[in-house]
């Protein structure tokens, strides 16, 4: 019996370690959620920059509005090509830890941040199919997200934080768009004497849309009509 | 110095010489006729005078001034229409008149233009579009346009073309009026001898680009020399009979069935007597003045007759 005790305790230790490991992604997600949860609403100035090889469009400025849990609006004047997904919508899912299953995918370095990679699988049938998050263990902020939804497909976003890191509000989000998926429509009229594109542009298969946030007004409130009024 | 002098005018189109060394003098205040068949070179000469065509060689001067060097000043004193009067059919008569006058640097009052239209017999037609005008009315309007700026010289190329008999008479009277009442010099061309004869003071006959006769109409078309054409069975015998009469009648030509004689007008009665005294059958006798005969000969002959001026 005594000879079997080390084996028994080893088993207990392994079981405990396993349980501890199993709790870790959930805890990471909870920590990230808790940090963001302090933000009930925010309003900020937004600069949008486009780097899409097949679309030539200048920077634009506007205002961004967010209200918990899932209201997000960007107010811009003029033509804009925006990412289809709300960059903060995931936090609405993360508030209920029973609504998803989190699986750790190890670590990955982005920039100089050694991120924990967590895959989130919703428990119930909903628009979100799967999400993969790269979390900064130090700040509990999302550094990168890759979300796949039924309505909008897969979106990749990189987050950079500075002044408003305490709220988990990024200064910059860079959305990566896959260009293979779409083609420009046929021309409206004859396009004569086109210049040949730069070879680097021809080879690129992705483009980026960059959101630069500034002048956040956090939890100061604004009318609800902001989300419904027309441009 | 003549008012208009043309010296050795040549206009060549490729190998063809439309005008071939033409000389011409027009005196001030006279009506001058250019007579010639179609294609003789009349219009080409007039076009050279009006700078529509550049001569191959030769000179054209107006009061001693070369047209090449004083074009604008000279043309300011010329009113003309070539081949036919040219109007903007989509404009009214008075608009055409106004347009033409302004190109001469004139700005006539409406009253002046109406008076001019009345002068040429177009009273009441001032606002009518030219496209509704008859040929005669267009000719009249053309005359009006040539006179609107009060030129010294009027050049008209076949002005009676397309006119009815009354129109021809009216035009003739108008041209005479231009000379007699308004003191203008008129140069007009025609292929009809009688037209020239009736109004011109001087004339030139143009044939194959050359002038073959020039001078006063009264002299060129005098009846001092007569050409008589006799239709007969035996022209040779008749010619011998006339010659044997010893009256100095000249036999110009003997053709089968036709004898041509030349005589002075005073000799005609004697010639008639000689002819009637012969036994040879005579079917017709026709007399013409010498130049008239010449002009008519041109219509049947390729030879180029030469006459002294």
């Amino acid at each position: 019996m005594i000879r079997k005790l080390p084996l028994f305790f080893s088993f207990i230790l392994l079981f405990a370690m396993h349980n501890a490991t199993a709790q870790l992604p959930g805890a990471m997600l909870k920590a990230a959620y808790n940090k963001f949860a302090t933000v009930k609403n925010f309003k900020g100035h937004l600069n949008v920059d486009f780097d899409i090889p097949t679309i030539s469009i200048e920077k634009m400025s506007g205002t961004v509005y967010y209200k918990w849990p899932d209201k997000f609006r960007v107010k811009l004047t003029g033509v804009a090509f925006l990412p289809r997904q709300n960059p903060f919508f995931l936090f609405n899912l993360l508030k209920d830890s029973t609504a998803y299953v989190a699986v750790t995918n190890g670590k990955e370095t982005i920039g100089n941040i050694n991120c924990n990679v967590v895959t989130v699988l919703p428990q119930q049938d909903q628009d979100l199919v799967v999400a993969k998050l790269w979390l900064d263990p130090g700040s509990n902020c999302v550094i990168r997200s890759q979300t796949t939804t039924k309505s909008s497909g897969t979106a990749l976003a990189d987050y950079t934080y500075a002044a408003y890191q305490r709220y988990a509000l990024p200064d910059k989000i860079v959305f990566t768009v896959d260009l293979n998926k779409f083609k420009l429509p046929k021309m409206v009229s004859a396009d004569l004497n086109t210049k040949k594109k730069a070879s680097s542009d021809i080879k690129r298969t992705t483009g980026t849309i960059t959101f630069l946030f500034s002048n956040y007004e956090v939890n100061k409130g604004f009318p609800e009509s902001v989300f419904t009024e027309k441009e | 110095m003549a008012f208009v002098e043309i010296r050795n005018l040549v206009k060549q189109f490729g190998e063809f010489k439309a005008v071939n060394g033409l000389d011409m003098d027009v005196n001030k205040g006279e009506i001058f006729g250019l007579l010639g068949l179609n294609g003789a070179g009349k219009s080409t000469t007039m076009r050279c005078m009006l700078t529509l065509i550049k001569p191959t060689s030769g000179t054209i001067t107006y009061s001693g001034q070369s047209i090449d060097e004083h074009r604008a000043a000279i043309l300011r004193n010329i009113g003309c229409f070539v081949d036919r009067p040219d109007h903007y059919n989509y404009l009214s008569a008075i608009a055409n008149l106004n347009l033409s006058a302004r190109l001469y640097g004139c700005y006539p009052q409406k009253k002046e233009m109406l008076e001019m239209l009345e002068l040429v017999g177009l009273k009441g037609k001032e606002n009518q579009k030219v496209k509704s005008f008859s040929q005669g009315m267009k000719q009249r309007l053309g005359i009006a346009a040539t006179l609107m700026h009060n030129p010294e010289l009027v050049i008209l190329d076949e002005p009676t073309n397309g006119l009815d008999p009354q129109g021809i008479i009216d035009l003739r009277n108008l041209v005479l009026k231009l000379k007699e009442e308004m003191g203008k010099t008129v140069i007009l061309s025609s292929h009809i001898l009688s037209e020239i004869e009736m109004i011109a003071d001087s004339m030139v006959i143009v044939h194959r680009g050359k002038n073959i006769a020039q001078g006063k109409v009264s002299e060129l078309l005098s009846d001092k020399e007569i050409v008589m054409t006799v239709e007969t069975d035996n022209a040779e015998a008749l010619a011998a009979w006339v010659t044997s009469a010893g009256m100095g009648f000249a036999v110009a030509a003997t053709l089968p069935g036709q004898l041509t004689l030349k005589a002075a007008r005073a000799q005609l009665p004697e010639l008639h007597r000689v002819l009637s005294a012969s036994d040879i059958r005579i079917y017709n006798i026709n007399t013409r003045r010498k130049l008239e005969d010449l002009f008519l000969t041109l219509t049947h002959s390729d030879d180029q007759p030469v006459l002294a001026r």
């Binding site: 097949t54 679309i55 030539s56 469009i57 200048e58 634009m60 960007v74 811009l76 003029g78 033509v79 804009a80 090509f81 925006l82 990412p83 289809r84 768009v177 260009l179 998926k181 779409f182 420009l184 429509p185 021309m187 409206v188 009229s189 004859a190 396009d191 004569l192 004497n193 086109t194 210049k195 594109k197 | 189109f13 076009r47 009006l50 700078t51 529509l52 065509i53 550049k54 074009r71 604008a72 000043a73 043309l75 300011r76 003309c80 229409f81 081949d83 036919r84 040219d86 109007h87 903007y88 059919n89 989509y90 404009l91 608009a95 347009l99 033409s100 302004r102 190109l103 001469y104 640097g105």
Partner: protein, 282 residues
């Protein structure tokens, strides 16, 4: 001596008295109004169809038809219809008068042939300018009134270009100016042919045929054609479109503008030279 200005006034008076002169304005009005009505009724559906693949990857904002976009679409009529309208008048200017004989009346006046020809050329340029202005009023101002302001979206074969509304006004004005330069080349070309012909139809048909032929050559990516394309004036008559690009190729616009000016001078010079030497036998 009558001044060039007075001559131009007289020539303009003649053109504007002719019904043919108004055909171009009527045609442009009909074309523009029809397209505006169609876009007003079905423009959104048409645009959604064109951009449907884009909406799969983006949330597209502000891509509704607006006056600036409608104007840009309407300006495409410049490519074929406007040169025809211009040639219709320019091709008749000299040859029409030769045909009717009124040229004789003009040339026997105390005015130099050069001045007469210049006055006709300037009068046709005024017509061309007014045609462009009319197109601008219909295509731009009326479109802005009907559809409102907004960004211009230019669909090219390899790129979609968005021009901001605030940035569009000077581009449109510049495009109209360069388009006027382009149409002036067509005008001078048809005018030159008119000096050689003795009827109105030939210069109009020939000038349009040349424009169409050169345009077709310009659309083919064949090495042989690529070598001659830079020398075809139609290659440069569409340079106004470069104002709706980002970034604007200023060098190309300058080069093409100089090329167009050179053609205007060339065609005008040939016209004057030939007209001064010509014998008018009709």
């Amino acid at each position: 001596m009558i001044s060039l200005f007075s001559l131009v006034k007289l020539e303009s008076y003649k053109y504007w008295s002719k019904p043919r002169t108004y055909i171009g304005f009527i045609a442009i009005t009909v074309i523009v109004v029809l397209i505006q009505i169609a876009l007003y009724a079905d423009g959104k559906a048409y645009w959604d169809f064109l951009t449907q693949s884009l909406s799969q990857s983006f949330e597209i904002r502000g891509l509704d038809f607006n006056g600036n976009m409608v104007c840009f679409i309407l300006l495409q009529t410049l490519i074929v219809q406007m040169p025809l309208m211009v040639a219709l008048v320019s091709g008749d200017v000299v040859s029409g008068e030769v045909q009717t004989g009124t040229i004789r009346s003009l040339l026997t006046k105390p005015v130099s042939r050069t001045k007469i020809l210049l006055s006709k050329l300037i009068a046709t340029e005024i017509y061309t300018l007014l045609l462009i202005v009319w197109l601008g009023i219909l295509a731009w101002f009326v479109s802005l009134m009907l559809f409102g302001r907004g960004d211009v979206v230019v669909l090219k074969s390899d790129q979609l270009v968005v021009i901001r509304s605030a940035d569009s006004a000077w581009r449109f004005l510049s495009a109209f100016f360069v388009a006027f330069l382009s149409l002036s080349v067509i005008n001078c070309f048809a005018f030159m042919l008119s000096c050689f012909a003795e009827n109105s139809v030939t210069p109009i048909v020939v000038s349009m045929s040349v424009v169409i032929l050169f345009t077709i050559i310009g659309t083919f990516d064949i090495p042989l054609f690529d070598a001659i394309k830079p020398f075809l004036f139609t290659t440069h008559t569409i340079v106004w479109r470069n104002f709706f690009d980002n970034p604007i190729d200023k060098h190309l616009i300058w080069t093409s503008s100089v090329f167009l000016l050179a053609h205007i001078i060339l065609f005008s010079g040939v016209s004057i030279y030939h007209f001064n030497r010509k014998d008018f036998l009709q």
